[in-house]
Symmetry: C2
Subunit: 360 residues, 2 copies
Amino acid sequence: MRGQPPATVTELADRVGMSRPGTDVVVRGLVADGWVKVVEPDGSTVGRPARRYCFNAEAGHVLGVDVGVHKILVLLSDLEGHVVHSHRLPVEPSADPAARLDAVDTAITQCLKAAKMRPTQIWAVTVGVTGPVDSTGRTTLFTPLPGWAGVSPAEHLAARFTCPILVENDCKLAAVAERWQGAAQDADDIVYVLAGIRTGAGLIIDGTLRRGFGGAAGEIGALKAVRWDSAPEHIENCPGIPSSIHADDRAAWVFTEARAGNRDASTAIRRYVKDLAVGTAALVLTLDPQVVVLGGGFSRSADLILDPLARELGRLCLRVPEIRASSLGADSVALGALRVALDHLDSQLFTDGMPAPLTR
Amino acid sequence: MRGQPPATVTELADRVGMSRPGTDVVVRGLVADGWVKVVEPDGSTVGRPARRYCFNAEAGHVLGVDVGVHKILVLLSDLEGHVVHSHRLPVEPSADPAARLDAVDTAITQCLKAAKMRPTQIWAVTVGVTGPVDSTGRTTLFTPLPGWAGVSPAEHLAARFTCPILVENDCKLAAVAERWQGAAQDADDIVYVLAGIRTGAGLIIDGTLRRGFGGAAGEIGALKAVRWDSAPEHIENCPGIPSSIHADDRAAWVFTEARAGNRDASTAIRRYVKDLAVGTAALVLTLDPQVVVLGGGFSRSADLILDPLARELGRLCLRVPEIRASSLGADSVALGALRVALDHLDSQLFTDGMPAPLTR
């Protein structure tokens, strides 16, 4: 019934191939448990209309938390994945773990407060962080966040939530989001490339997010030969950027200038794309995906990147996949976090089972 | 019952959780269809021993064909994958498609003749070829075999076989073989690296061979930046190789000399491994596998390659997987071809179904 419009018992019986009386018994049980709610007739029909039922998406909620370099973003959704509240807080790139976790706590508090909910009403939380996430939920191998390598966001949040708390890499979550609601909803084999001040990747193969044996899949950027580590420097160090421009706005200045005909800016972008293409080609040649989705801050300037990137990949690869720009922007990590939390609930429900909403 | 020792009806009933009489009916049906055979008591037991049953592996057979640069290898196996006959023919690297297909035909004829079987008794054939295999079963994107890009091995063999004929890339088949019977039987996430005069890769993720959207997964070697294309030249062009050594034996000379203390040979191998490691690191960083299996001709000298390769990967990667040498040698492609043919039969049996052996 989830994801479907309200339906009568007769319609449900047809849909699942059970008898009408049998379906009626099951539906009444689901209503009693809180999984399904009754949709009362709106009175517009003549005669006595049949009662309709729909999935009770408000039975439970999940949180998706993006712990970024510059921001904390918390999304709260129902069991259908509809976002009912969000809260965003800026955070300094140089913030230490305590300050960053404080911001996470505050953003979650604000989000729950706005939704008038208690932590016990949250069924699952997924936290997105930068760097590969190991089996303990930490980013011990690598993280650009100061002092963050030893931090366990799951342990920190366990003081407040009794539900499952998952931790996942930001690029992997963004890839999940693009397949769920973004630019790659039709594809099962997806390479997501985060293009911005940092460059990263998330991989979906056969419809499933691939974490790798140790959680470090997609970390091609660590290989110097594919030139991702230095690629953004072409843009950051573009000649002519006025010293009055804030460090965070240098790239936007370069893209704007390139559109206005500034040769230095165009050259910087051309060199950036050439380097971005090498690492992207390594992913494409390894996996031969259907789609490459370009996300991250620079994807707002996809008009200046997509065509030259496709040309470079044509030169470097045996077969060039479709290349699309992200349609989700800066919310993609938190959205993917919601999806991973919901998927976790699904797998719990269909393996170990879980308590019904009204028996919790 | 497949892969299990002979069992009595009582044992089978226990195994599947059915009643003894019900199991008896099913087993008699399987015997009548030819899927199961009766194992007569050997008379060593006192009293009247219970009749035992086992899977009839000889009910059907499959062929695995390796169309290599230097050789054609045909393996014939029963439904358990036991090789009952094989036939190997040398072929010139320069052979044109007609000559190479002639050799394939001859090797298949010899193999069937030795087994006293007709083509109609073969249930599936898998052909391994070099280069990525597209959706038509051709290697249109790339092949090192002269004139082979437009050849369809499936169409060629369809003149002789009415069963399904599959075509697959050689490195992908070798990867399958290593997981089936070779060095990676315990792993689900495997990068297979073919190390020889050519360098290639096959990928198994979550226990499944990954072909890629267009069949070109694993073709990282096409990216110049990862240095696979030139890596073997360090060994081929090692200073001091006597002109009397045949081109195909130059690598063996270098490995032998390195073991004997020849500095030039050791240097050539060190440079080779440094280049091999870059492409391998690209695969490892992309997929984060549990195991890297080193196969191909050079894997016979794994004693000289594995340790320095692990050191280089330690330098280049975030997390270094286990590195193991292939245990299958030159038969791995044809063995993988058998496994793919058997898997195809399984998927047919469990989806569309297939005629019972005795009703064919």
